[in-house]
């Protein structure tokens, strides 16, 4: 984890990144544009973890995939260690792949069922001419698997153990950045805690940076140094984890945090929960101006006409809202925490 105070040197910078999809309308009535990622900018320092949160359909997974090159960007740029990698061809991208890995939610789907665990971890090493038997064994130990696991197939492992295998494979090349796309979301609480602790320990040991994409806000608070909140393809708020969780300024962040149930039976009697009206708007026909205005308790006329933008300094506490501000009630701030 990055130290407080000094800013770590920049590893990844994403500048006005866009990923639009053409979606054909039913009955051959032409097509429309899905702006899955619509002008996203942020920076990630070496050895740091940026938590990217948002509900389904907000574009967080598309953003992760566009950064690693699984989707071709529709616009904007991606810099890794200062190099512009957004324009590079697929072939040239394979070089960056060594520095950039991605782990998905479902380890059942992402591991080749016919390969042994040894082969799964060895494959990226072989491709890059870095294979040795010792290196595979070292990775297995690092993720807490026994050496005997090497000869077995993924089907013989539980979900949590498979995620360990996927992490070992992703970290085998000693990448500088790993994108974790809902990597612990499918796991039970007791196993999830093991995997999160493993990710933190591996980060301390190797200095790898994580882009941690998740919808579970508690997990994101625990693992992240910095946090960005997405809604309808845009980042609505970003900052350090204590800024975003401790004093959220965007009404959506506030509603999201307030919606999370907490393991505290006393809380139900507190009538402080913000209940948003309605659902996510149709992403094929998003509202004009601020995407959140249709559900926002603070929305005014300007919200429909002018799209709010956050601060341009990537390390500032940025809020894309015309009426940012603390919650009226202080009950959900971090100041009064029942022990």
């Amino acid at each position: 984890m990055a130290m407080n105070g000094a800013t770590p040197s920049e590893l990844l910078r994403v500048d006005s990144l866009r990923k639009h999809f053409r979606v054909s309308k039913p009955h051959g009535l032409g097509s429309s544009t899905l702006r899955a990622v619509d002008g996203v900018s942020f920076a990630l320092g070496k050895g740091e973890t940026l938590g990217l949160v948002g509900e389904s359909g907000c574009g967080k997974s598309t953003l992760g995939r566009t950064i690693v090159g699984l989707h071709e960007a529709s616009g904007g740029r991606v810099f890794l260690n200062g190099r512009d990698i957004s324009g590079t061809s697929r072939r040239a991208r394979s070089f960056e792949r060594r520095e950039m890995q991605i782990v998905f939610q479902d380890p059942y789907a992402s591991l080749d069922p016919r390969m042994s665990v040894h082969e799964i971890i060895a494959e990226p090493l072989r491709i890059n001419g870095m294979y040795s038997r010792e290196r595979v064994a070292k990775m297995l130990t690092a993720v807490g698997l026994q050496e005997g696991a090497a000869t077995r197939k993924p089907a013989e492992f539980s979900g949590g153990q498979r995620q360990r295998i996927a992490i070992a494979r992703a970290l085998a090349l000693d990448p500088e950045l790993v994108i974790l796309d809902e990597a612990v979301s499918a796991l039970d609480v007791s196993i999830q805690a093991q995997i999160i602790n493993l990710l933190k320990a591996l980060q301390r040991a190797s200095g790898v940076a994580y882009l941690f994409i998740a919808h579970d806000l508690s997990v994101v608070r625990y693992i992240s140094d910095r946090v960005a909140v997405m809604y309808l393809g845009r980042i609505v708020e970003s900052g350090t984890r204590d800024e975003v969780f401790g004093s959220p300024q965007h009404p959506y962040t506030q509603a999201l945090l307030s919606a999370v149930p907490r393991p505290d039976p006393a809380r139900r009697r507190a009538s402080t929960r913000i209940v948003l009206k309605g659902e996510l708007p149709d992403p094929l026909a998003p509202p004009s101006g601020c995407g959140f205005r249709t559900r926002c308790p603070k929305a005014q006329a300007i919200c429909a006409s002018v799209t709010p933008v956050g601060a341009s300094d990537p390390r500032a506490h940025a809020v894309a809202c015309h009426f940012p501000g603390p919650l009226e009630s202080s009950s959900s701030s971090s100041a009064n925490v029942p022990q």
Binding site: V189, S218, A259, P265
Partner: protein, 334 residues
């Protein structure tokens, strides 16, 4: 021990599953009562047997390889084992309302939503006219907060969002004024801002009808904020049962303690997180004695944990039950 005011009384419910390698016990001696007007939470990780136990109670065990080996289920004093399949069907969707995680699997995809809810209404009110049924369905759709009920009435489930489908499911579950709602992971597939809406709706429905509810979930936050009393399941058994306050404030089973300590906190930043070592047991090889003993920090390898199954017995306060040989040591160990 049997609570006279209980709506649902489950005693020693035991379910066996026939696996290729032989029979295995998937639910093992589960007992609990659900009282009038209360929310009873059953919380557990995957494979704990929580959903299978509820399916067994409702007479909905999947496939032919699972069967109730022993136990009794009393619903408003009636033994459900003696009911015919038809009587059970009438009970479900009548006095017993059910809400599942994925409405797509419980709603018929080729039937219009209004018609499906109408069927449920009609089964229990055969004398109602066609218009009477439609009026009741529109009233229900409105009640569960579905905007534009007349248009929605004619739509198919796939035209509904996940949250709207769950609302339709709730409309069906409450169509005949149930006295007990059984909600199995009702919001697990939904985003948190929609989850809040659905939980508020369920609370409003309960306030209106006075129905009790069994909430089955893996989400400790959700159960803490919703349930009055809670049972924690692990490896097919109830490990601990207590009021929500007692369970979260002063847990007595080491598994509950471990689970709560494994949860990252939302309202403050922490630097380290406890994790329970090891893996939950599969139904094929459940450990001897206490099913939790190989992962238990309190047991610390003591022989009784491996040798004897601990009874679900009073621990601390009179209505606080824990299935642990050493639950009196938990407060110091915790």
């Amino acid at each position: 021990m049997t609570d006279q005011s209980a709506i649902l009384s489950v005693r020693d419910l035991t379910v066996d599953v026939e696996l290729p390698e032989g029979p295995a016990r998937i639910v093992d001696g589960v007992s609990f009562d659900v009282r009038a007007n209360e929310v009873f939470g059953i919380v557990g990780e995957s494979g704990s047997g929580k959903s299978i136990a509820m399916l067994a109670i409702m007479g909905l065990l999947p496939g032919s390889n699972m069967r109730i080996a022993r136990g009794q289920v009393l619903f408003r004093g009636r033994d459900l084992a003696v009911l015919t399949a038809q009587e059970m069907r009438r009970l479900r969707g009548g006095e017993l309302g059910m809400i599942f995680q994925d409405p797509m699997t419980s709603l018929n995809p080729v039937l219009r939503v209004g018609r499906q809810i109408g069927e449920t209404v009609r089964i229990h009110h055969p004398d109602l006219s066609k218009h009477g049924v439609e009026a009741r369905v529109l009233e229900l759709l409105d009640l569960v907060g579905i905007p534009n009920p007349r248009r929605r009435y004619r739509q198919y489930p796939h035209e509904f969002s996940g949250g709207m489908r769950q609302r339709a499911m709730i409309a069906m579950a409450i169509a005949n004024d149930p006295v007990l709602l059984i909600a199995d992971e009702p919001t697990t597939a939904l985003d948190v801002t929609i989850q809040v809406q659905i939980m508020e709706l369920l609370a409003a429905v309960r306030a209106r009808t006075g129905a009790s509810m069994v909430l089955i979930t893996h989400d400790l936050g959700l159960v803490a904020e919703t349930a009055d009393r809670i049972a924690v399941m692990y490896g097919g058994r109830i490990m601990e049962a207590a009021s929500a306050q007692a369970l979260f404030g002063a847990p007595r089973h080491p598994y509950t303690v471990g689970l709560l300590r494994s949860l990252p906190e939302l309202h403050r930043s922490t630097e380290s997180l406890y994790s329970i070592p090891g893996q939950p047991p599969s139904v094929r090889d459940r450990p001897s004695g206490c099913v939790f003993h190989p992962r238990c920090g309190l047991s610390n390898g003591r022989a009784p944990c491996e040798e004897r199954v601990p009874e679900l017995a009073t621990a601390g306060a009179s209505h606080h039950l824990a299935a642990c040989h050493y639950s009196d040591e938990t407060p110091q160990w915790r």
